[in-house]
């Protein structure tokens, strides 16, 4: 058994003529909190659905705990929990009844985890799921997922539509889980500020492929923005170049520090580090570059 929880190998998937994933590779190691970022419509949800065996792949291979999630779904998903983008629990049931329903399906269910989470989130016990607030629904979904004591937690944009307070509470619960049990996490999100604080790895999906796949520690060191006059020679291997308000701007994603420094000294260019958000925009922007 390797340390891989899940793996995509040259996966092509999607509908009809236009594959959403196209030669998609991703490796998820035990203990990682892997955040997959992408613009809307780039296939984040397709990746999640393939991973969970909800959609077959057209080519390539997905494995989950070494098994094919499509053909061996029950075994592959035995230790996996999922929080969907749209809360989809049975609408007529209250939180305690939802818990009892799910408990029967989950061999490792721990009721104490479930009720402690509901308490912390202040979810009322007597209101049917459909009438809970968006934030309360997200907490119920997370509590259902965590009480089954998964080894692997998959979250598809779980904080979409939540306000700041609810988002903070949601991520707080997630950190609590990481601290207590060290679950492996795969999360897609648009909430880059929160992702940066909790992720160990970040991937950016663009045009069906993984355009960026890095450990968070290496990420900020790996990118630089440079700004220079129009007649200055280009730095080596720019990722993208744009003419900006203050001169020419380039993003470097693959630079040699010594080489960059000597270029800076020769040209007097400005070299600045980048935030994750800036890096995401530079990598995910679909305009033709350089």
């Amino acid at each position: 058994m390797t340390d891989d929880i899940a793996r995509f190998e040259a996966v092509t998937a999607g509908y009809g003529g236009r594959p959403v994933l196209d030669g998609f590779d991703l490796r998820l190691r035990r203990g990682a909190v892997y955040a997959l970022l992408a613009r809307n419509g780039e296939g984040k949800t397709t990746a999640v659905r393939c991973l969970l065996g909800l959609e077959p792949v057209a080519a390539g291979r997905v494995s989950l705990f070494g098994l094919d999630p499509w053909s061996e779904r029950t075994r592959a998903l035995a230790r996996v929990a999922y929080v969907p983008e749209e809360p989809d629990a049975l609408p007529g049931l209250t939180a305690p009844r939802l818990g009892r329903t799910v408990a029967g399906l989950m061999p490792r269910w721990e009721a104490a985890i479930y009720s402690a989470q509901l308490d912390r989130a202040g979810v009322p016990r007597d209101v049917p799921f459909a009438r809970l607030s968006r934030g309360q629904k997200a907490h119920v979904e997370l509590a259902l997922a965590l009480a089954s004591r998964p080894d692997f937690l998959v979250l598809d944009d779980p904080t979409l539509g939540l306000d700041h307070v609810a988002r903070r509470a949601f991520y707080g619960e997630l950190i609590h889980e990481l601290v207590e049990r060290g679950v492996t996490v795969f999360i897609t999100s648009h909430d880059i500020a929160a992702i940066e604080k909790i992720a160990t790895h970040v991937g950016v999906l663009r045009r069906g492929k993984l355009a960026l796949d890095m450990e968070i520690e290496a990420l900020k060191a790996g990118f630089r923005r440079v700004r220079f006059g129009k007649h200055v020679p280009m730095p080596a291997r720019p990722l993208r170049v744009e003419s900006g308000l203050w001169g020419v701007e380039a993003v470097l994603g693959d630079y040699q520090p010594a080489e960059l420094e000597s270029w800076r000294q020769k040209t007097g260019a400005e070299v600045a580090p980048m935030s994750l958000e800036e890096i995401f925009v530079a990598v995910a922007d679909d305009k033709e570059v350089a």
Binding site: H176, L178, V179, I192, A194, E196, K197, I198, E277
Partner: protein
Amino acid sequence: MPCARPTRAQVSAGPAASDRLTASASLYYNTDTVTGLRIDPSAATPIWSQLEEQLRQLVATRRLAPGAPVPSVRALAAELIVNPATVAKAYQRLCDAGVLVVRRGEGTFVADRPPEMSRTERARALRESAERYAAVARTLGAGTDEAIAAVEAVLGRLDRAIGGSKR
């Protein structure tokens, strides 16, 4: 916000809801005045490095006194909503540098004698900060005497604030 100093049990307990959801895991002055850490995910500096830098600052300015306890990795991660591994990395680097010490079964503390920077390190750090300040002063059109007077005034205020104990 005034805040009771957390007991060791609270700090290391982690799972207690009240512990995680209040400011009890905040770093505090040795005078029971709460101070805090600010993580800025939009900054270009990695989060572990922001944490390391701010903790170093709190120790250097004695807002965290020698021997004072610091929150457990878990408690601080929960409070800041940051991956525990990130907090652990900052703590590890500070332990390696002799700023913090781990006492088994007790927790993590500011070292009794936090290390001084080496003289060359300190000289370099001072020069770099001075360069930035000098550039600002000249941009504002300040003369040398005026610029130095402003620094002296700030230094005097700082010394009074920390009781003149550290010069």
